[in-house]
Amino acid sequence: MSECPVCGGEITLADDVVTGELLECGDCGSELEVTSLDPVELEEAPEAEEDWGQ
């Protein structure tokens, strides 16, 4: 169990979570990035940049 860095809500990570993965906090809706797995660290996901896309 991890904690949302924005609202403090509880976040459960999937077993196959990877570094860099985007998550959405179920409580506040913030988009988060998994920045570390050991220990688990979550940060607010970066804002979209001009050359982002597909």
């Binding site: 990877v18 993965e21 979209a48």
Partner: protein, 282 residues
Amino acid sequence: MGSITVGFLHSLVRREEKLLIGEFNQRRNVNLVLIDDRRLCFDLKHRPEVDVIVERSINHSRALHALRLYQGLGIPCVNSYDVSLTCGDKILTAAALQDHGVAQPDLRIAFTIESALKAIEELGYPVVLKPAVGSWGRLLSRVNDRDAAETILEHKAVLGSYHHSIFFIQKYIDKRGRDIRAFVVGNDCIAAIYRSSTHWITNTARGATASCCPVTPELGELCLSAAKAVGGGVLAIDLFESTDGFLVNEVNYTMEFRNSIDTTGIHIPGKVVDHVLSCTNG
């Protein structure tokens, strides 16, 4: 069969990357190496121990340069640097489609406000102004009259970086509430969806809804022609259904497909992984 080491170039891991990672990890004889472009420090003389690179970076500029460097070391890349260069720039895409006789909306490219205004009036209102590099329907402008044209061109020239003064102007196509996204993997057009919206921008990133679109022989052949025009690989082709037939609007090279697996019933990650594994030098 020997083991294949796949370098998976990424930054943020979105739903598509997660699906692809899961698919690679299910394959026997595949060793998946995750390469976060934010931690990459490239040595031009050092060849990483990978047999193929699959590019899934969210930043076009990082993807483009990394692909050039990996290819320079003799590593096959999906998609290739040339494909990424062409598809990452709408002007280069339009030129490639034109070179190969692929139908697309009428368009103009201009480099000054004055010549852009002239080009817009030549095409006739409405037109759509697009950044040459950009995605997800961001900063698209539908220009309905000369007042709007003058204002938008001035804003782009004054407030934007120099990229925004390279004006890509496309004739507005009345798409009657939907367009088509088709997926090409290698030599096959594997699936397509309609993207429907009450807004004139029909990107799913902007709220359009997806439904299954049959891949007719006509649609499939045009998509393969568009894919061939930009160099081929794993591509998402966006098309309009005009009164003159299908028109290719854009070709995307780091395609998003999260809304299209259940919609089409096609296991897109599996098709992509099959293609990537077929691209190794061995």
